[in-house]
């Protein structure tokens, strides 16, 4: 897979709290924008990949876009945890010859539609293939939201490592600084101080305050993946150096309550190892990283599991300023899911592509390698 496929087009709608139109239309708009960005047409597309929880019906999407023939379609399980797995599916489809160009997409109305942060008291037994089968065991006990499902790992992590809410807050201050200078971010022009973070109300004590939570967003992001040979004819391709997905025994996305040690993301560690091995790259080669910050503690556990710092050392890595523009590993330069928007993780990949193309609102100095982690799935991108 190493470098033989590329992202050749990216597109997005505006990010808002009230899109005023259907997810299908949002997806179609983002896909049309991504094709235009790549200089391709729907006649060039023969593959579609999304992930579970996306409400868009593939058949409806094709009816609107006018794709002449679909030769590959798939959905990655695990909801947002599977967001980067789309690139593994798309690359596998292209490399196998099953499809020539694959569109990956996600459309949300997670604010104006079914709010992601709402209290759910009627779960489905298998949770729509989102990798959260343990959700049914949480409902009778008032554990009804993503923040509450993920709070158990967070509290245990704090207990084992001595990490505090203020340590989490220092990362949020950095994400909000990036968001402040990103015109597309929900929190554009609204940086915060550590005191602001510490004064924001508890959602799930002692780990998650309001300002530790990602956005609920309406909007869509789409990208086009094809072979790197074909990509040479497009204006601004970015290579997929590696894409990986690892799910370990007893590990769940969000409702991860039964792994032996909840203070470590063992699956993310294996996913990261797979990425670097497949790409032939080292941690030190990564110029910028986008790490799924649904809630701040999840960012800390991934940062450690991916090997950018040792176990329990994320708090020091963050306090030393390494997430900032001149740090060892600038992270979530769009403001992250906390500061920019929550298109279920795909806007992180969008920002990684922007950085490698030189078009980020918080552009770094000539980055060549970007990592995107959604915990269970991830990609390494290269130009």
């Amino acid at each position: 897979m190493n470098g033989s496929t590329s992202i050749v087009g990216v597109g997005a709608t505006e990010f808002s709290k009230e899109a005023g139109r259907s997810e299908t239309r949002l997806a179609a708009e983002a896909i049309v924008a991504a094709l235009a960005d790549a200089g391709l047409t729907t006649a060039d597309v023969d593959g579609l990949v999304s992930f579970t929880v996306d409400p868009v019906e593939e058949t409806e999407l094709v009816r609107s876009l006018g794709i002449p023939a679909v030769r590959w379609s798939s959905r990655v399980p695990y909801g947002g945890g599977g967001s980067q797995g789309m690139f593994q599916h798309a690359a596998a489809a292209v490399l196998s010859g099953a499809a020539r160009a694959v569109v990956v997409y996600r459309a949300c109305r997670s604010r104006s539609g079914k709010r992601f942060g709402r209290a759910r008291v009627a779960p489905e037994p298998v949770s729509g293939h989102s990798g959260t089968t343990a959700m049914q065991w949480a409902t009778p006990f008032g554990v009804l939201t993503p923040a509450s499902w993920m709070s158990f790992e967070s509290t245990r992590y704090m207990h084992e490592t001595g990490t505090t809410s203020a340590d989490f807050g220092r990362a949020v201050v950095q994400f909000r600084d990036y968001a402040a200078t990103n015109p597309n971010a929900y929190f554009a022009g609204r940086p915060i101080t550590l005191d602001d973070h510490q004064n924001s109300r508890w959602i799930a004590e002692p780990a998650i305050r309001l300002f530790d939570c990602c956005q609920e967003t309406d909007g869509a992001v789409a990208m086009v993946v094809t072979s790197s040979d074909r990509a040479a004819d497009t204006p601004a391709p970015v290579q997929i150096a590696a894409a990986a997905s690892v799910g370990l025994f007893e590990e769940e996305v969000a409702s991860n309550h039964y792994r032996p040690d909840l203070s470590r993301f063992d699956g993310t560690a294996e996913m990261g190892d797979s990425l670097f091995r497949a790409a032939g790259l080292e941690r030190a080669d990564v110029d910028v990283a986008m790490i799924y910050d649904a809630f701040t503690p999840m960012f800390f556990l991934q940062l450690e599991a991916l090997g950018f710092c040792g176990y329990g050392e994320a708090k020091d890595f963050v306090a030393d300023g390494h997430l900032g523009p001149t740090g060892a590993l600038p992270c979530n330069t769009n403001g992250g899911l906390i500061g920019e928007a929550y298109i279920h993780g795909l806007n992180l990949t969008l920002e990684a592509v922007r950085q490698l193309r030189g078009s980020s609102p918080n552009q770094l100095d000539d980055p060549h390698v970007a990592l995107v982690s959604a915990g269970r799935t991830g990609v390494l991108l290269r130009r």
Binding site: G117, R118, A119, V121, A122, P123, P125, T133, A134, Q136, W137, A138, T139, P140, F141, G142, V143, L144, T145, S148, S151, F152, E153, S154, T155, R156, H159, R201, W202, I203, A204, E205, P206, A207, L210, F249, H257, Y258, L262
Partner: protein, 136 residues
Amino acid sequence: MTDHVRPAPLRTEENDGFWTAAAEGRLAVQRCDACGRWQHPPRAMCPDCHSVALSFADVAGTGVVYSWSLLHHPQHPSFEYPVVAVLVTLDEGPRVLSNLVGVDPADVRIGLPVEVTSAPTAEGDVPVFAIREGRA
């Protein structure tokens, strides 16, 4: 006595034995008849020996808090806030998600010894935990 009525658990072919026991005031965890493996949440097959002979066996009902959280927001009328949510490691090994009841939220901590009791839902009781007397 209270306006807060917990939602009934969702029953499936795999989990029915757990909730049936709970409704009778017992904490029963799935165990493999062939190799004796305790497992929770229950499942269709023993992942160690692939036996499908699985039973729900009563456990002692004692354990320690593995992790916890005080849930403040959003609030649902079925619960009183903050919800004291806990993961309990049972003495038999499996971990269960539940609530700690009759406790000052400020006293909740990892390692707290707990024992099972029951709380009503819209349809039958579910197992919740209280601090084990004399052991805190």
